[in-house]
């Protein structure tokens, strides 16, 4: 274990992480790990990725101070790290461009991906088009319906979208299906996993590719306000946008780290996806981590209005940070998130993704724990266009 939290590179984060996958996948994971660890310190790879981000992704993403929103929720200064302005509309592209470059290096010609909200699927389909790779996206049937617009986007981009009809027909089942495809096609195919879950090296690698969010935000905050923020906040599904922004501040002990997960109808009901608040340690999708499970270790179905947070597991590094007390995690109900979505839209002219709205709703909780006037940076992980149908129905606008 390295001394600095920022330097942990797995396979374990405390008691969490590892590789709990069938043996046929180990060679691919070893190959990926070796390729990634070499790329990690290869200046050529790093500059190629930086160039792509500059010329294609649209980085660095800006920071916007949300004064009217802040005034409406409490006595804080709120800064939005605008990942919604990235190409394809969310943070997901940061990881996808990194892994797509690695796919090229490994000489593979096909990528597969799972997607919940469709944002990771869209980003993967986009990278596949850009790099000339074949792309298959697995998506729970339930999600193909609530995120129909993103299905159309993926298809327009030339990807094949496979609706998954097993289990709960959401993100967790899409991951199972992608793993099955990967086992069978591992020679030609890279599994472009979209969050910081899964077997090593995914949690480390995906985190690093999103580390750019926190690194930029830290420098931008120092420049804008002359000091570090009191807290950094993000929504947590698998945990990629959260860990990405957290890592820029993880060795700054004065900066609180807050992750907001989906509490659905409430964490005291059965209808939620609050894995860190209500789950227990177990193994899911190749890693030891917190899991929503029954007394027999069967994974429970999660529930959230937001497809991207509707996942009964979470990245192992978050499990570690929770146990360590370095980060705090709190559940946000569907109704609170939807209210925050509307509030940001009306006070700032920014329509956030419903996933992101969970982090925004979390700000009113922070106003009761932070000193008046403190600065908070929120990872605005994605834009809400994909959610217009859900929001339109929720607010009775259609």
């Amino acid at each position: 274990m390295s001394e600095k939290l920022s330097e942990g590179i797995g396979p374990y984060f405390g008691a969490y992480g590892g590789r709990f996958v069938p043996e046929p996948l180990i060679r691919a994971l070893d190959e990926l790990e070796a390729t990634y660890l070499a790329a990690r310190k290869d200046p050529k790879f790093q500059s190629e990725l930086a160039n792509l981000h500059k010329q294609y992704t649209g980085r660095p993403s800006i920071i916007t101070e949300a004064s009217r929103f802040a005034a409406a929720v409490g006595d804080l200064r709120v800064f939005l790290k605008r990942e919604d302005l990235n190409h394809t509309g969310s943070h997901k592209i940061n990881n996808v461009m990194g892994q797509a470059l690695l796919t090229k290096i490994m000489g593979k010609t096909r990528i597969i991906a799972e997607t919940g909200a469709g944002q990771h699927g869209v980003a993967s389909a986009t990278a596949a088009a850009y790099f000339g790779l074949e792309c298959v996206v697995y998506m729970g049937e339930v999600d193909t319906q609530r995120q129909a617009l993103n299905v159309a986007r993926m298809k327009l981009l030339g990807a094949e979208v496979v609706p998954v009809t097993t289990g709960s027909r959401t993100l967790k089942d899409a991951i199972n299906e992608a793993m099955r495809d990967w086992v069978a096609n591992v020679d030609t195919t890279h599994y472009l996993l979209g969050t910081v879950a899964g077997p090593h090296p995914f949690p480390t690698m995906v985190r690093d590719f999103h580390g750019i969010i926190g690194n930029e935000a830290r420098a931008q905050m120092l420049e804008l306000t002359g000091s570090l923020p009191a807290a950094v906040a993000a929504c947590v599904g698998g945990g990629s946008n959260a860990i990405g922004i957290f890592h820029g501040f993880i060795d700054d002990p004065t900066v609180q780290l807050w992750g907001f997960e989906a509490a659905g109808d409430g964490i005291d009901t059965l209808m939620h996806a609050a894995t860190l608040s209500k789950g227990t340690p177990g193994v899911l999708h190749g890693a030891k981590t917190y899991v929503l499970q029954d007394e027999d270790g069967q994974t429970l179905e999660s529930h959230s209005i937001s497809a991207g947070l509707d996942y009964p597991g979470v990245g192992p590094e978050h499990a570690f940070l929770k146990d360590l007390g370095r980060a705090n995690y709190l559940g946000i109900k569907d109704s609170e998130a939807m209210e925050a979505m509307r509030l940001l839209s009306r006070t700032e002219g920014i329509i956030p993704a419903i996933e992101t709205a969970h982090a925004l709703a979390g700000i009113s909780h922070l106003s009761s724990v932070l000193p008046k006037g403190s600065s908070v940076v929120v990872n605005l992980s994605g834009r809400g266009d994909k959610d217009m149908e859900t929001a339109g129905r929720y607010f009775g606008l259609l």
Binding site: P22, G167, A184, H285, G297, T299
Partner: protein, 259 residues
């Protein structure tokens, strides 16, 4: 009770092959699955592999997925597996292994699970998503209790990893015949033979071939170079189509490949 490894060796030394029959616990009900497994032992399976239904079975193809999903929706609970083992043991001396994804065992408590399993009369556990690298605790516990443990070796495994699987396993090494999930394959990959060859390079641990084995010819072929053939999907299909009688007929048919 005879261990899986001794039985495999004993039959091989007499020039007999081995058929390792997989069937899911609790499919379609707890009692039915016990009866199915008993019939499989009676009609020619030399070893039983009792599958524990799990919500996220990434190694399994559609037939096993559907069967285990049905077991769960019919109310299968993990503790039922001990009942099933006891019920089989009351009628048969057949060696039994439980096949389980890792999380159900972790959630039950590894040590307690191992003890209860042994007490019920099973010989060990096959762990499809536990690699030896992550298995220190299980290796120690199984060693202490005298339970057998089966790890996988795959066509993609390096020589080093094949060696690790062989060294870590007791009972046999599960040679995955093909890169893919469980199900039937028209043709068994030449890969199957190469995995077994590599196991033989490092170890005299028995090697059994599974994933995709479903016909009499394949059972015969596999037994010509390996210590046993593992069959699951074909038995479930036979049961779906013809009930217990259909299952018996399929076991009898495949067991003809063991002479």
């Amino acid at each position: 009770m005879i261990s899986v490894e001794s039985l495999l060796r004993e039959r091989k030394s007499k020039g007999l092959g081995n058929l390792i029959g997989y069937f899911p616990a609790g499919y379609p009900t707890v009692e039915d699955s016990a009866n199915a497994l008993i019939a499989m032992a009676q009609d020619g399976c030399s070893v039983l592999e009792i599958g524990i239904p799990y919500s996220d079975p990434v190694m399994d193809g559609p037939v096993i997925q559907k069967a285990t999903e049905q077991a769960l929706s019919n109310g299968f609970k993990l503790k039922n597996v001990f009942e099933i083992v006891r019920s089989i043991r009351s009628q048969s001396t057949v060696p039994m292994l439980v096949m389980s994804y890792w999380n159900p065992i972790v959630s039950y408590g590894l040590e307690r699970f191992a003890q209860d399993l042994k007490e019920a009369g099973a010989q060990g556990i096959i762990t499809p998503d536990l690699i030896p690298d992550e298995a220190a605790e299980w290796i120690e516990i199984s060693q202490n209790l005298g339970l057998e443990r089966v790890f996988l070796a795959a066509p993609s495994s390096s020589e080093e990893r094949v060696n690790l699987a062989a060294e870590s396993s007791r009972g046999f090494v599960y040679a995955v015949s093909t890169m893919g999930i469980t199900g039937e394959r028209a043709q068994l990959d030449a890969l199957a033979r190469s995995v077994v060859d590599r196991i033989r390079m490092f170890s005299n641990r028995p090697a059994c071939v599974g994933v995709g084995v479903s016909t009499l010819e394949q059972v015969r072929e596999v037994n010509s170079y390996a210590d046993g053939a593992i069959v699951g999907t074909a038995f479930i299909k036979a049961y779906e189509q013809g009930g217990l009688e259909g299952l018996r007929a399929k076991v009898n048919e495949l067991a003809r490949g063991l002479d």
